[in-house]
């Protein structure tokens, strides 16, 4: 596992520690998340974990295994909301470990705020992404650009979002994303016609994330 480095953001401005985990397995990252959650519950600064996973298919608690059409990657059942999704190289996964006790205790607001972050990131690429009422996530037209699914204990969040950077359509072909038949996936690469560098996307995600979540305690609005 790569060392976790907090970026240089002054604590007064941003109490959220950003940790870039590089490429790390899903289950290893899960352990990092759980550890981080323990720290946050104990009062430590909130964290944003950023990671790229090796190929893996995960099923949320309600995930229907029938939505895994082909077992091209290991399939794991995990403790987040949502159905089935794919993670793999070319996708930036963010796990905010945030204490919603400090942010108004509203899961809906939290989910919408995550969408705001990703919509803002898309906008930085000149893309007009939007939310679709009733379908958490960030969409370009009818295709999903980023998936969102969270798990919460003691109002501290785990899991988070997965932003498709590279064209992952063939990887996603193995599943019915989020159980939504009739709905496809897209990516920054597909939508902009060129695949941006992961590091650039990461920097923008951090920027927009802190813009939404760090300016004040009420940032989740």
């Amino acid at each position: 596992m790569k060392s976790a480095v907090a970026i240089a953001v002054s604590p007064e401005v941003s109490p959220i520690a950003v940790r870039r985990l590089g490429r790390l397995g899903y289950e290893e990252t899960l352990r990092v998340q759980e550890e981080a959650r323990g720290q946050v519950i104990a009062g430590a600064p909130e964290q944003l974990l950023l990671v790229e996973h090796p190929p893996v298919i995960t099923l949320g608690r309600r995930g229907d295994v029938r939505h895994v059409l082909e077992r091209r990657a290991p399939v794991l059942r995990v403790s987040r909301g949502g159905d089935v999704t794919y993670h793999g190289p070319g996708q930036l996964v963010g796990y905010p470990i945030l204490d919603l006790n400090r942010r108004g205790r509203d899961i809906d607001r939290y989910l919408r705020a995550l969408e705001d972050v990703l919509i803002a990131v898309a906008r930085r690429f000149g893309l007009t992404a939007r939310r679709q009422r009733g379908f958490t996530g960030v969409w370009l037209g009818n295709a999903k650009l980023a998936a969102i699914g969270v798990g919460i204990r003691r109002w501290v969040t785990m899991h988070g979002f997965a932003l498709n950077v590279a064209d992952l359509r063939s990887e996603f072909a193995a599943i019915v994303p989020c159980g939504l038949a009739g709905i496809g996936v897209t990516s920054l690469a597909e939508a902009t016609g060129q695949c941006p560098a992961m590091a650039d996307v990461e920097a923008l995600v951090v920027d927009e994330f802190l813009r939404v979540f760090a300016p004040s305690e009420e940032g989740a609005g």
């Binding site: 608690r61 939505h67 909301g81 009422r133 699914g149 969270v150 919460i152 072909a173 496809g184």
Partner: protein
């Protein structure tokens, strides 16, 4: 059911981690609750014995509904000292549903499991009372948006004390409502527990009761969703199934479409005699590797008509009209208890043979459930063909964010008038449903005329 967000109306119990009779310690996770894309681990605020589970795993309950009963130490101490009980509960700040916080009246997030001391008196009271049972009367609708904890705490203490003092009173008395609203509710037979108050701190005022009286439907439908109909009037239910994810998706999308899009429909009868001849000729000639069907001709004609009438190949979005650069035809394909719409991309640029091959491939994959998700995205117009059934015409619901959908009936010999004489011709009826926000009747009519011309002179579909 704890209130996990201001906008949450109900949640689903994913799983009970504790069974009835088990001892629970404070802070222990007892259940998992799902709402939208978030799962919440529900922890007991206090220790005690789980004495009842009201909402089994897999079922939903309204916010505020009692999901389980926890006989806690505080309850054993008696329920007179609500303030003390509250303190005990607030002593576990990690509790999901800590009393006193995020709540300025008893009804909000009144999960009994979380607040044994405050709730036990109520839930323990015999259900034979005239008061509605907790499940039937979720008080959540009266819950106001959560206020700042510091402000709400005082109100809460008062409320809790009131509640404790009047533990045997009907439950409705614990709901905040003006006297006038109560009187009006009694007169109109409206259950206050089902209302959302619009007054200060979520207090129910007369106006809320009046609104409910004039439109009792939402309350009724909510109630029906929550419990199986068991008493008079309603038809008995023989089976109840959770909807599959696909079905849920269809339900949501179609409801949204039908609610938000002002639909209108225009129908045309198209003479398919030439198409029938052409299809036979093509088969005989063996010119195409893939057999070409009427559906393929229709798709080809629709694609071409759309390039000439791009307004029907558009979307209404955020108050703007977006005209699509590509013609990507969705083909509604019926699958087991559902509908999947694979998308034939750039249909206008394909030759009839190419289009036929691609359509066959997509439909076959869809039927086998092997479609790639990319095959399902980016549609700009949908064709729903029920020509395999012996029917005349139907209207389809628009598939958002598209602006129009074509519903196609069966081709069969019908009596038509040609040059003043009634003759038999193979015809079909097509009906286009349109989003009136961006399409007017004349536009739809011109599109259908174009389609009619193309299909009645189908040789053009083959040569170009």
């Amino acid at each position: 059911m704890p209130k996990l967000s201001d906008t949450m109306e109900e949640g689903t119990i994913l799983k009970w981690l504790k069974q009835v009779g088990e001892t629970v310690t404070a802070g222990e996770v007892i259940a998992e609750v799902e709402t939208d894309k978030a799962d919440m681990e529900l922890e007991a605020a206090e220790g005690g014995v789980l004495s009842a589970i009201r909402i089994p795993a897999g079922e939903s309950a309204a916010v505020g509904a009692v999901i389980a009963v926890l006989d806690g130490d505080a309850a054993a101490k008696g329920n007179g000292d609500a303030q003390q009980a509250k303190s005990t509960a607030t002593g576990t700040p990690e509790a999901v549903d800590e009393p006193g916080a995020d709540r300025d009246e008893e009804s909000d997030a009144a999960a009994a499991a979380e607040r044994p001391a405050a709730r036990k008196p109520e839930v323990a009271s015999p259900p034979t009372k005239s008061a509605p049972t907790p499940k039937a009367a979720p008080p959540s609708k009266a819950a106001p948006p959560s206020a700042a904890p510091s402000r709400s705490r005082a109100a809460d203490a008062t409320q809790a004390a009131t509640q404790a003092a009047t533990k045997d009173a009907p439950r409705a008395d614990t709901i905040k409502a003006s006297a006038a609203a109560r009187a009006l509710a009694a007169e109109r037979g409206i259950d206050l527990a089902g209302l959302r108050g619009s007054g200060p701190d979520g207090r129910i005022v007369s106006e809320d009761v009046e609104t409910a009286a004039s439109d009792t439907k939402p309350a009724e439908s909510r109630a029906t969703m929550r419990r199986p109909p068991s008493t008079g009037g309603e038809a008995p239910v023989s089976e109840r199934h959770e909807l599959s994810r696909m079905r849920q998706s269809i339900a949501k999308r179609m409801s949204e479409a039908f609610r938000d899009i002002p639909h209108f429909a225009v129908t045309a009868e198209i003479d398919m005699s030439e198409a029938v001849r052409l299809k036979a000729a093509l088969e005989k000639s063996g010119a195409f590797d893939v057999p070409v069907t009427y559906t393929h001709m229709l798709l080809k004609a629709v694609a071409r008509a759309l390039t000439r009438h791009p307004r029907l190949n558009s979307s209404y979005r955020d108050g703007a009209l977006e005209v699509h650069a590509e013609v990507n035809l969705g083909m509604a394909v019926s699958v087991d208890d559902g509908l999947i719409v694979p998308v034939l991309r750039r249909a206008d640029e394909r030759s009839l043979a190419d289009l036929a091959a691609e359509a066959r491939r997509l439909v076959a994959l869809t039927k086998q459930g092997k479609f790639a998700s990319a095959d399902l995205s980016g549609g700009t117009f949908t064709v729903s063909n029920m020509g395999m059934l012996d029917l005349e015409s139907f209207t389809a619901v628009i598939n958002p964010p598209q602006a129009a959908i074509l519903a196609v009936g069966a081709i069969k010999p019908r009596a038509v008038v040609r040059e003043g004489a009634v003759v038999a011709r193979h015809t079909m009826f097509v009906t286009v449903s349109c989003d009136h926000r961006i399409i007017d009747g004349v536009m739809a009519g011109r599109f259908l005329e174009e389609l009619k011309t193309l299909l009645e002179n189908p040789i053009g579909l083959v040569v170009a």
